[in-house]
């Protein structure tokens, strides 16, 4: 079993962090993992993407052209990567910024207004955690409780942010499963 997730969006949306948290959680769960960033002559506000591969055996090619799942945080990312997702995968759409459809009927599309949800929680910066929670709840790529522990660990040095992010996880999951 191997699953691959492509995270994509603008620089500053927390794309790399989402990928790292998922990779960390998958590692805690006992999977082999690889996290690969897009690196290149990037600029602020430009595109940012990373790929996470999790598998129950040593990972061969770390470079993935056709991921199992996609988390699209802005419109250009959805347009670019939606056609590459394998049939049967999950496409997460950041509904707050993306007004178009994924254009696929052979995948599970989940659209969530993460910015509005994060605003209601009191901090727009938790939007990526809402997205990650919704995606994980829907794709079941890692155990949700392990994800929760990983997020806690990630904010260990900024403890006052933990309650906000825990709420963000709950809200994301609720939307995904509701």
């Amino acid at each position: 079993m191997q699953s691959e997730v492509q995270f994509a969006g603008f620089g500053g949306q927390g794309i790399m962090l989402m990928g790292q948290i998922l990779a960390q959680a998958a590692m805690q769960q006992g999977f082999e993992v690889v996290w690969i960033p897009s690196y290149g002559p990037e600029m602020r506000g430009g595109t940012a993407y990373c790929t996470v591969v999790a598998a129950d055996r040593p990972i061969g090619s770390p470079v993935i052209r056709n991921p199992m799942h996609l988390v699209a945080m802005n419109r250009p990312s959805l347009e670019k990567f939606a056609p590459t997702v394998k049939p049967g995968g999950v496409i997460f759409v950041n509904q707050s910024l993306i007004s178009i459809e994924a254009g696929r009927d052979d995948v599970d599309v989940i659209s969530v207004p993460i910015i509005e949800i994060a605003q209601k929680l009191g901090n727009i910066r938790a939007a990526n955690i809402v997205a990650l929670a919704a995606f994980v709840a829907r794709s079941k790529i890692v155990d949700f409780e392990i994800l929760r522990e990983t997020v806690k660990g990630k904010f260990a040095k900024k403890e006052k942010l933990i309650p906000l992010n825990m709420k963000a996880l709950d809200e994301g999951r609720k939307v995904a499963l509701g």
Binding site: A23, E32, V33, W35, P37, Y39, G40, S61
Partner: protein, 356 residues
């Protein structure tokens, strides 16, 4: 120790510290700048030195100086930076000092690009600098292997009194994977009494150690080169390392590939197996010394129709593969430059083309 998720570049820096190298001289360059970033914070914590040189040329001589004094020392850079260091590397080999150089390769020639590449194979294994010298060249295919190789590199550099190079493509530096660091550290170079110019009061021996690279007398220089040659021959006897994949079955094609590229090939081999086509692989873990005999044996096996060298270059390692196969069967090359890593599908397509 439990596993931690770490970026290759940071893991390489940590591995060097754990191998007891508290001297790091470097100049930043993508895609390895995170090593310097990491060590600029980490070296002061462990009482080590991180000094950013004014150029890679200067860095290579800082390495020379520290190595000559018997200090464990290393640097990291990427392709154009290694070109600049090549003069110093030639001097360090001539002076027989141990040091570790890490090249996280980017595309070339010239400034090229900053994405993954394996186009410095010739530079690493055949020279780069001037004169008859060799580097022991290690090629990791994962972050964990990079950690182990960096730590081992210091031991080998001291065993042979010769620089060791870790040759990784940009992905080895950029990707994150779980790593585990061995607990035990070996801090002190074990044999430095015999070569380090660390001062007579630091040694038991009364022999005066001399670091030099100038031999104006032709007979003396020839003898010096013969001595170096004997070391490289010893490496060829003792340091060949490679890994095989799917080599026990009846493979029709033999792949030779290293680094990240070999992992792409592994996936291609798995996929082809499902469609009934058997392909074997030899992955050199050391590029010098090269596992020529193993490749020759594998190519000579009944049923093997061709050998394919897959590399992110325009065909460099393939020359060593040809030299190893010596006509046992046809040798092909497949690769790409510029930073786009060939996909398993592209490798599979190339193999099908050869079969037809």
């Amino acid at each position: 120790m439990s596993k931690v998720l770490m970026k290759g570049n940071e893991a390489i820096g940590e591995a060097a510290i754990r191998a007891g190298s508290l001297n790091y001289f470097a100049y930043p360059i993508t895609p390895q700048s995170e090593v310097a970033e990491y060590l600029s914070r980490r070296m002061p914590e462990v009482g080590g030195v991180f000094l950013q040189g004014e150029s890679e040329v200067a860095v290579s001589y800082m390495i020379f100086g520290a190595a000559a004094c018997g200090e464990r020392v290393f640097t990291t850079s990427s392709s154009p930076g290694i070109s600049l260091m090549s003069e110093g590397i030639s001097y360090i080999t001539a002076a027989e000092c141990p040091a570790v150089f890490v090249n996280i390769m980017r595309g070339g020639p010239g400034l090229g690009g900053i994405l993954p590449s394996q186009a410095d194979y010739f530079q690493a294994t055949k020279g780069g600098g001037h004169g008859d010298y060799r580097l022991l060249v290690m090629a990791p295919a994962s972050v964990q292997e990079a950690v182990e190789m960096v730590m081992q590199a210091f031991v080998l550099a001291e065993k042979y009194l010769n620089p060791v190079m870790i040759l990784g493509d940009g992905l080895i530096g950029q990707m994150m994977e779980p790593v585990e660091f061995p607990e035990h550290l070996k801090v002190e170079p074990s044999n430095k009494d015999g070569w380090a110019t660390s001062g007579m009061d630091t040694r038991k021996s009364s022999h005066r150690n001399l670091v030099k690279t100038l031999y104006l007398d032709p007979g003396e220089l020839n003898a010096h080169n013969l001595k170096l040659k004997a070391k490289y021959e010893r490496m060829q006897r003792e340091e060949i390392r490679y890994e095989t994949y799917n080599l026990n079955g009846d493979y029709e094609i033999l792949i030779v590939s290293y680094g990240t590229m070999s992992r792409v090939c592994r996936t291609a081999i798995d996929n082809l197996k499902e469609s009934g086509l058997e392909v074997g692989m030899i992955r050199p873990q050391h590029l010098f010394p090269f596992p020529g005999q193993a490749i020759n044996d594998a190519a000579a096996k009944k049923g093997c129709r061709a050998v394919l060298s897959v590399e992110m270059s325009m065909g460099q390692m393939v020359e060593d593969v040809e030299r190893s196969v010596i006509g046992k069967c046809p040798v092909h090359w497949y690769g790409k430059c510029g930073g786009e890593v060939p996909t398993p599908e592209e490798v599979m397509g190339e193999i099908r083309k050869i079969i037809e």
